[in-house]
């Protein structure tokens, strides 16, 4: 389906247009799924430690929920924020349903994720310059794993999902001011944990 000309036609459409088309014909929902499946898949992976199979189940549940709620999508909101919000809630629901055997918000970052956190460096203290290097990927994971969930998720959204403050506000349903505060606190907590566990390394 991805390679055919029909897909290319849908590829250029806006999210809102695809939402409208999906409501007219459920087959069109496929193109909306294709647009977001990888992003949401990685989001789930970063926040859970479930198996690939279970991750796909969560992803499927998310898209079913999105489909059910298509009429409730507010066009004033970015569709991506809306779908991430549903994903965020669904991950939490999934965690509550399977509490005994799962660990939501546990860390599941691949090396690529860790390297992408280098944006975290650019607007903050030098400590991150020491930490975020290819050699230190494990240390980064270690520090992130020690962060409280609320801080970890917000850092993921900001630096791995590359969301703006307003988008994070829409995803987590928190005021933008609170998002900014949380990000700052998350950074300083990150720094504190790194220092406390002697995770800083020298460049030399």
């Amino acid at each position: 389906m991805l390679e055919n000309p029909t897909y290319n036609k849908y590829e250029n459409m806006s999210d809102l247009e695809l939402v409208k088309l999906s409501l007219e014909n459920k087959e069109n929902f496929y193109y909306l799924i294709k647009r977001y499946e990888l992003k949401i898949f990685h989001y789930i992976r970063r926040l859970t430690n479930v198996s690939q199979e279970e991750r796909e189940d969560i992803l499927q549940d998310i898209f079913i929920k999105v489909y059910r709620n298509l009429n409730g999508f507010n066009p004033n909101l970015k569709f991506s924020s809306w779908i991430y919000r549903i994903a965020h809630n669904e991950i939490i629901n999934h965690y509550h349903k399977n509490k005994s055997r799962l660990k939501a918000f546990s860390l599941n970052l691949d090396n690529n994720d860790v390297y992408h956190l280098d944006e975290l460096i650019s607007d903050t203290d030098d400590i991150f310059n020491y930490l975020i290097t290819h050699e230190n990927a494990d240390k980064i994971r270690e520090v992130l794993a020690k962060l409280p969930n609320k801080y970890r998720e917000i850092l993921m959204l900001r630096y791995l999902e590359e969301k703006k403050y307003d988008e994070i506000s829409d995803i987590l349903c928190k005021p933008p001011g609170t998002v900014a505060t949380l990000i700052n606190r998350a950074k300083s907590k990150f720094k504190k944990i790194a220092k406390h566990h002697n995770l800083m390394v020298n460049h030399d």
């Binding site: 079913i64 059910r68 298509l70 009429n71 409730g72 506000s169 349903c173």
Partner: protein, 249 residues
């Protein structure tokens, strides 16, 4: 990774999953806004009775009483309505956060605006006299409320300090009435030189507060007489018989 899109579409078709209708979302939004509005309205009412009770606290008697400022304030604060006000503001905040864009606003801002709206609305409702009527209904019908409110009249249960309150039981003459106090004790009140506040006149069943002094055991000389609750509220004979001040909820 399996073709999630295909799987999702198969599930949608197999289980005949349909998107919720626009009406469903409209009703959901309306329900949230209605509950928010209702909470604000109830907060306004709670605020209006709070204002009524504060306004009818005898602040000027603080100097004449032997109570410390803390004790006096502890008696004067209308806890019952303040707690209700806080509960309704909390509920209103909760529902506002659930509205489409409610989460974007700062908690402090939402609560501050809710409090301001409740106070302004409360002043408006107080001026209509509704708060006084509502307070009377609670006083009349809810024993727990009477018990909580009794603390507010504690000052008026100290005849040795010159403060007495209760319900007129009998009018013996233009100079003398019989009163059953808040503890259920009987008093003969000398009203010959008493100043009656406002348009208050002696009447059986009327609940009053008296400033004066003890003459002898069971007799009190009144200097000033005020209505017990707000302006004019008459008690009923049946309440005298039930000795309602001593009842427990």
């Amino acid at each position: 990774m399996t073709d999630i899109g295909k799987n999702v579409l198969q599930k949608i078709k197999k289980e005949k999953i349909q998107p919720f209708s626009k009406k469903h979302f409209f009703l959901k939004k309306s329900f949230i806004w209605t509950l928010f509005g209702l909470s604000i309205l109830l907060g306004i009412i709670a605020s209006s009775v709070t204002i009524f009770q504060l306004k009818h606290t005898d602040w000027e008697l603080y100097d004449r009483s032997n109570y410390s400022l803390f004790e006096f304030l502890a008696m004067a604060i209308p806890y019952f309505w303040l707690i209700f006000l806080m509960i309704f503001i909390g509920i209103a905040y909760n529902y506002f956060r659930r509205t489409e864009k409610g989460y974007r606003y700062n908690t402090l801002l939402i609560i501050t605006i809710s409090v301001i709206v409740s106070i302004i609305g409360g002043i408006g409702v107080y001026q209509t006299g509704f708060s006084e009527k509502l307070e009377a209904v609670f006083q009349e019908n809810i024993p727990v409320y009477r018990m909580i409110n009794r603390g507010r009249h504690r000052m008026w249960m100290s005849p040795e300090q010159g403060f007495l309150a209760g319900e007129i039981k009998e009018i013996n003459s233009a100079q003398e009435i019989e009163l059953i106090d808040l503890h259920g004790n009987n008093w003969i009140i000398d009203i010959s030189n008493a100043f009656w506040r406002g348009r208050l006149r002696s009447e059986v069943g009327l609940e009053i507060k008296i400033i004066g002094k003890i003459k002898v055991e069971g007799q009190f000389v009144a200097n000033e007489i005020r209505p017990l609750h707000g302006r004019l509220r008459r008690g009923r004979g049946r309440r005298l018989r039930s000795n309602r001040w001593n009842e427990t909820p």
